[in-house]
């Protein structure tokens, strides 16, 4: 860097010499005087250095600090287009399987969401019945729950012994198995 700076100062002195020849009748301005003073210090070494660039490689090395900057400004539409391109938003899913019960397509590491929707709906209804108790007056969830649907005969006492019976106002779905003594 010092060598580059010295070479720049030498070139500056050459240009100043040409300027002084044109205005030889006036003294140099104060700014040029400062440059002369700076140039005067390495005067002993300036005579040894070459007066101009020795090769293209040296010139390129001097200008290499301007190579790492962008030439053009990226506009906002181009940025947004690149960010939300279809190659990012649309990605293929390759682990899909078919549910054996309802033929719905779902990823292989999850359960079928169409089958779960029915379970979820009935579960929500049973939960609402289950939560209809008032803990502030001493009621507690201290019993097992037995779900009884409309149109069903009363279950035998051995199954419902000590259980809390919830009555649902709809028929039992065919896929919800009835509780028996075997369980």
């Amino acid at each position: 860097m010092n060598e580059a700076r010295a070479r720049i100062i030498i070139n500056l002195r050459l240009s100043m010499d040409s300027l002084m020849r044109v205005f030889s009748h006036r003294s140099p301005p104060p700014s040029f005087g400062f440059a002369c003073d700076v140039g005067a210090h390495p005067s002993s070494t300036a005579q040894n250095l070459p007066m101009t660039y020795g090769s293209v490689r040296e010139m390129i090395d001097d200008f290499s600090i301007v190579f790492g900057v962008p030439k053009y400004r990226t506009s906002k539409p181009k940025k947004v287009t690149r960010k939300f391109s279809f190659t990012r938003l649309l990605q293929p899913i390759d682990n899909l399987v078919t549910c054996p019960a309802c033929s719905n397509i779902h990823p292989s590491d999850t359960i079928c969401d169409a089958c779960y929707a029915k379970v979820h709906q009935l579960t929500s209804e049973i939960k609402k019945k289950m939560m209809q108790y008032n803990p502030y007056v001493g009621e507690k969830q201290d019993k097992e729950v037995y779900v009884k649907f409309r149109g069903e005969p009363d279950a035998p006492a051995a199954v419902v012994k000590g259980k809390r019976v919830l009555e649902i106002e709809k028929e039992r779905p065919t896929w919800f198995k009835k509780l028996t003594l075997k369980e």
Partner: protein, 194 residues
């Protein structure tokens, strides 16, 4: 009582304990270890109350071992144990849930081993996160269903139905049996070259 001395005497729980750090944050509490425990406590309380809860997948995976350990304490050490009472009192802030745990949930698993819970994974869903002025922000979530076994709800995954009576299975079994019989006949027949 030292927790380590209690944990040594308990059998190993049968669910996977995740080791990846999970960001369990909740509104109103600065993210910290205490906030994480608060989130887990809410999940455990909700699961004990409802016996089946839908959560984010990472929260369900993270809370499941704690629920297993809580049920295991009730099963192995009983309600009169000092450590069990302390843990139940902390993890279930509502006292009627402690009653439910000891009288409904723990008797289910007296003659069973861990795991006492089930965890199912649903396909990712796009749910509404929040509404800001006139904008709605939606986000994709991985959903997990955490449930305590033996609950009164319908089963999430139906049992494997025996399909051996279906016509496809009968025909396929017949074809395989005939093929095996043909191979056996070929082996039993002596070769003409010998």
């Amino acid at each position: 009582m030292s927790a380590h001395r209690v944990a040594v005497s308990l059998p190993r729980i049968g669910v996977t304990i995740g080791h990846a750090p999970q960001k369990l944050k909740t509104g109103g509490i600065e993210p910290s270890r205490r906030a994480r425990l608060e989130v887990l406590r809410r999940i455990v309380t909700r699961t004990v109350r409802e016996e089946r809860a839908e959560l984010k997948w990472n929260r369900a995976v993270e809370a499941r071992p704690y629920l297993e350990r809580l049920i295991q304490l009730g099963v192995e050490r009983g309600p009169l144990d000092e450590y069990t009472a302390e843990m139940m009192e902390w993890w279930l802030p509502e006292k009627d849930l402690i009653t439910k745990m000891h009288e409904v949930i723990v008797p289910r698993f007296q003659d069973r081993d861990s795991p006492f819970t089930s965890l199912f994974r649903l396909p990712p869903q796009r749910l509404q996160q929040f509404i800001q002025n006139k904008r709605e922000v939606w986000k994709r979530y991985d959903i997990g269903v955490l449930e305590i076994d033996g609950n009164p709800f319908p089963q999430i995954q139906a049992d494997r139905v025996d399909q051996s009576e279906s016509i496809l299975d009968v025909l396929l079994a017949d074809a395989l049996r005939n093929h095996q019989k043909n191979l056996q006949e070929k082996l039993d027949t002596p070769k003409k070259s010998q």
